[in-house]
Homo-oligomer: 382 residues x 2
Amino acid sequence: MSRLDAFSRGEVPPPAAPGDPIERVDTPALIVELDAFEANLAAMAAFAARHGVHLTPHFKAHKTPAIAKRQKALGAAGFCVQKVSEAAPLVAAGLTPILVTNELVGDAKIELLCALAARAPMSVCADNATNIAALAAAAAARGVTLAVLVEVDAGSGRCGVAPGQPAADLATLVAAQSHLRFGGIQAYHGKAQHVREVLYRKTMIDQAVVAVRATTAALASAGLACPRVAGGGTGSFFLECASGVYTEIQPGSYALFDRDYSDNEPVTEPGVPQFQNALFVLATVMSATRPEHAVCDAGLKSMSFESGMPRVRGRPGIQYRGPSDEHGVLALLDGAKVAVGDRLHLIPGHVDPTVNLHDWIVATRSGRVEEVWPVVARGMVF
Amino acid sequence: MSRLDAFSRGEVPPPAAPGDPIERVDTPALIVELDAFEANLAAMAAFAARHGVHLTPHFKAHKTPAIAKRQKALGAAGFCVQKVSEAAPLVAAGLTPILVTNELVGDAKIELLCALAARAPMSVCADNATNIAALAAAAAARGVTLAVLVEVDAGSGRCGVAPGQPAADLATLVAAQSHLRFGGIQAYHGKAQHVREVLYRKTMIDQAVVAVRATTAALASAGLACPRVAGGGTGSFFLECASGVYTEIQPGSYALFDRDYSDNEPVTEPGVPQFQNALFVLATVMSATRPEHAVCDAGLKSMSFESGMPRVRGRPGIQYRGPSDEHGVLALLDGAKVAVGDRLHLIPGHVDPTVNLHDWIVATRSGRVEEVWPVVARGMVF
């Protein structure tokens, strides 16, 4: 039995094979429905093209080169990663150029970045002078050139230097290094993405635009051109596109679209794409010993829960109430019934950390497995 | 550069090598401090031996055969798993017998169980007649014998049949199948484990003991011997040991011991072991742009958070305030200071789903890497 042999060797074999009916997929498994997924990819690509803005999808959301390849075929200008290790399989697959939308601290990470820069164009973010010095020294030692984007705090209060003069000062420092190139500014407003009301989200991106304008003005005074203004996620990309100051959007979740994003108030402006849930955790009911109560086989090791519970698709009255490590407790409301062996499509709360739990994505169409994709960068947190 | 090559091939290489000083471990990395870990293992083994109760540590907590091997060397009577796939690497390593402390539903899982039962003694739980029929048919078709424990709801309200006669009826059904053997009862009270107050925890295990007694009495009336009464986790094992009715305890977290367990009220009864936090996520400060605020490189993809925030060891005033996918925001209180590049030992809230995020455990002693263990069953959720 080859599946047993794989587990015995410490490998996680795919839960299904192309051609299988979905009923044969072992659970819990990560499912992508291709019709919805392809519509999501096409809608974002068309929107970015129509606005003349580069689309550099964020690889951290799906960690799957098979998906990145489809994004590139639809016109992606490159890819974002959050961790330098994630860039390696992309570079190996020719899916470049790459921007690390994050600060890299520590010799191991900066060495990896420079080794990648010898193979493909690599950009990275920085928000302090010590880090810029470390990048400059490593790039010079290795004889490569790195593009460095100054990360500006666009309102999220996480990483990023203050906009305006402090950002321009760092850009000037970057430009003075022989093996660094000033690549532009990274101004992503992460906190805005999941704000439910569109109008409130808009005020937050307005704030990011003010930060960008203050920074580009200071850069101009310092005599520096700003080749790239990057930011914009699945909850806000249409606002960055409309701003006239962003040259690039970096959404990731739009391709798979989770429950939390679909709980955002929909954008009613004409032309702004609506996305569909394309990602599911397929689970099996494994115990149902009491009325109004059942248990499925997908818990904390199959989904992340910090954005709330998954929604059960197409089974009214079945609510996922809470996880334990390997279980999900289901409440059966309004007379809903399940039987042991029933299979449920759970719409996970949050794409990125959910996908990172799985080794395989089972891509289905019309109830049949069409492809099985390895989540190649799963676990690449370095 | 071999690390780059590994990432490029889609592998996650170890973040350190034996002999490295801890300063060279790439982050975020999972660290086990061997002195504390070994003391935890020894204390639980000695306690179980003193009480004449079998210790079958739960493999789901650490998923690491290198740890299971040490547990067996200290007298473990076998191992528990929660998913049948987890059993495969244990059987391959000769770390048996194995009890799946869970219902297995679906052909793929039951076939895997039977294939394993041809190689090693396998037990599994059941809480309904349909599942028992499926187990019996598969075991007969494969020509193997499975031991089936009837899972009783000991108070957690998750899986498990009602105690007493309903449980005895299922046991009678098991005993009537030619290729099944009635293996005893599984009566684990999961909800009791993290109840802070010892006295309240005790009332919950008292409830489990009542459920066990009702079931063994009904079994006796049905003429069935009960070879095994199993349950007991890291928060309650001393209570099951004291009950006189449990023959076996199944703790998992005690070996690595997380923040949530160390927030339980300590047991003051003499002879009950105290455990130490032996598991850490090593993280690096990657941004510190404002006073009272910094960011480290470990977030939702490096730790689980449903049991609360990690604690920062040995750095008073530094609080981990909240994660995003790849970041952790730190609050600096009472004048605490950090610098970019500082490395922090985070004590994660919950062992099991945290370990499942990592491919490697870096085992250290006195600030040096002694061994690097593959988390062989990581991602084995099937």
